[in-house]
Amino acid sequence: MAASGVALTPARKRLRRRERGLGYLLLIPSLLVFGVFVFWPLVHNAYLGFYRNPPFPGLPSTYVGFDQYKDVLTSQTFVDSVKTTFLFAVLTVPVGIAAGLALAILAHQQLKGIGIYRTFFSSTVATSVAVAAVIFGTLMNPSVGLLPWLGLTTNPTVLQNPDWALIAVAVVTVWQTLGLTFILMASGLQGVPDELYEAARVDGAGPWSRFWHVTLPMMSPTIFFAVVIGTIFAFQSFGQIDILTQGGPLKKTNVLTYFIYDTLQRQSDPGKAAVLAVALFLLTLILALAQIWLLERRVSYER
């Protein structure tokens, strides 16, 4: 800033103005999309929640203030749905990360042909939620599926069993995300310097102690990232539930996203669906912030 005291020449001023204009111009496409499809829905959802759907189609919806919020958010169905959503995250995230980390550690050794195993373990990244659900739905099918034949079944059959349906959907989810988790953990492991293991070995640390004192602390940023992203993913799970259980049996797999979809599409009740959407937004927001706050303090970033 040598010229700080000196007035800008008209040419420089023009250049500045043009840079400013260009800056906004480049942001406009993104801002347009965000404005219409991200931020406006947040405002509009909150507003929609004030209007109750008419009892018969064709009639105007009525303004009810916070009544609908109160009704929906205190209903047993909503409370159960939130519980199911949390339970689903608890069933999928820790198991998925543990499995991905275990495979990554096993595949992180000097062995001939280990590359093939890495490819195998990351293979489910090519599947989608829908593909996984269709494959497993057939495998679990009581009349044609292989799993019942192997004795892996319950009575009533897994996907129609209130005690087992959510677990079954969780298993499908863990399998489908395993490739992704594996890739993430494997690349995290590559960042751990080999000298640390050497040093630990020289100090007489066994494999178990090396895992606890070297791998886990060094991997904590990756694991932290996986927990946060995994939880957000879990809260957004929809396809596997739509294909496998449609929220049933007895609403035991009625996670919030499915509840919103069901309310919006099948019950054609945008007001109620909007209230649920507001709740989902606040829930994920609080959860993400809480996780970041909680985990940031325990993660070691020293490298």
């Binding site: 800056g23 595949a107 293979s123 034949w149 929809f238 919006l264």
Partner: protein, 300 residues
């Protein structure tokens, strides 16, 4: 050293004998350890791969053979007709085409908007830049599922219900993409811009001729990432399409499963058809995907 030891026959020295036995035992243990590790890796690989393997096998069996017990684990007489049926009668050909079109639109749109926004945040000075950057990051905190109630009616109001545009428009920009490109552009030395300016390069020319080519790894990572996410979309296509003519692969697969319970081999063939494009993509671009994935995990 070995020359010194060689004249002494090992068998005549008890200490050397014991040592040799010890080495042999150690060697044996190492071999067994190796075998054990391979065995463990193989068992785990089989567990992970089995659902995909059995899907391929079942897609090639006759429906009666799929239900035979014990199950057939190898297609001795492969029937490729199921793929033909899934493609034509099951409309998988149409669904695949739709998925490609929509995925292409979304990927191109996302990469373009991310390059533009990323450049603005990295190379230009303008008022409210920080605030606007926070706005971009804030979009990451809004799950798409939250917005569907309003977005379905917005798309209908715009006359885009049941159209390719309706499927693609909400995803033409992401905070993640802009963030990724900004980070990539920030690693470019600033003198580069000054030097280019001396050569008479305006911002626009500098962006496309210098900055984007140098940030190619990030562009590739974002492209693969966007493609994967767009290809696998489920909820939005389910909400916004009503015709088979516009259904994407993921929704089509669900449809296929519901219509052909008695021809289950066709469902399996459909699942494989839905996976093949991604397998091809990932075979070539796995490195880019890993980079895209881990971009967020690296300490910022």
């Amino acid at each position: 050293m070995s020359a010194d030891v060689a004249p002494l026959p090992a068998a005549h020295v008890p200490a050397a004998d014991a040592r040799a036995a010890e080495t042999r035992a150690l060697h044996r243990r190492k071999v067994w350890g190796k075998v054990g590790r391979y065995a463990l890796l193989t068992v785990l690989a089989i567990i992970v791969l089995f659902p995909i393997y059995i899907t391929i096998v079942n897609s090639l069996l006759k429906p009666v053979d799929i239900t035979s017990r014990p199950p057939k684990l190898f297609p001795t007489d492969p029937q490729f007709g199921s793929y033909q049926d899934a493609w034509n009668a099951g409309h998988m050909g149409t669904y695949l085409k739709n998925s490609f079109i929509v995925t292409f639109l979304i990927t191109v749109g996302q990469v373009l908007t991310a390059i533009l926004a990323g450049y603005a945040f990295a190379f230009l000075q303008f008022p409210f830049k920080r605030v606007l950057f926070v706005v971009f990051l804030a979009t990451l905190m809004v799950p798409f599922e939250v917005t569907i109630v309003t977005n379905v009616s917005t798309i209908s109001d715009l006359g885009l219900y049941n159209s390719y545009a309706g499927l693609a428009v909400p995803f033409l920009a992401t905070g993640f993409g802009a963030f990724l490109m900004r980070q990539a552009f920030l690693t470019l030395p600033h003198e580069l811009r000054d030097a280019a300016a001396l050569d008479g390069y305006g911002h626009w020319r500098f962006l496309w001729r210098v900055a984007v080519p140098l940030a190619r790894p990030a562009v590739a990572a974002l492209t693969v990432f966007a493609f994967l996410a767009a290809w696998n979309q489920y909820l939005w296509p389910l909400l916004i399409t009503k015709d088979d003519e516009l259904r994407t692969v993921q929704i089509g697969l669900k449809q296929l499963q519901q219509t052909s319970i008695d021809q289950i081999n066709i469902t399996f063939a459909g699942a494989i058809i839905a996976v093949v494009p991604l397998v091809i993509l990932l075979l070539f671009f796995q490195k880019q995907l890993v980079r895209g994935l881990t971009a967020g995990a690296v300490k910022g």
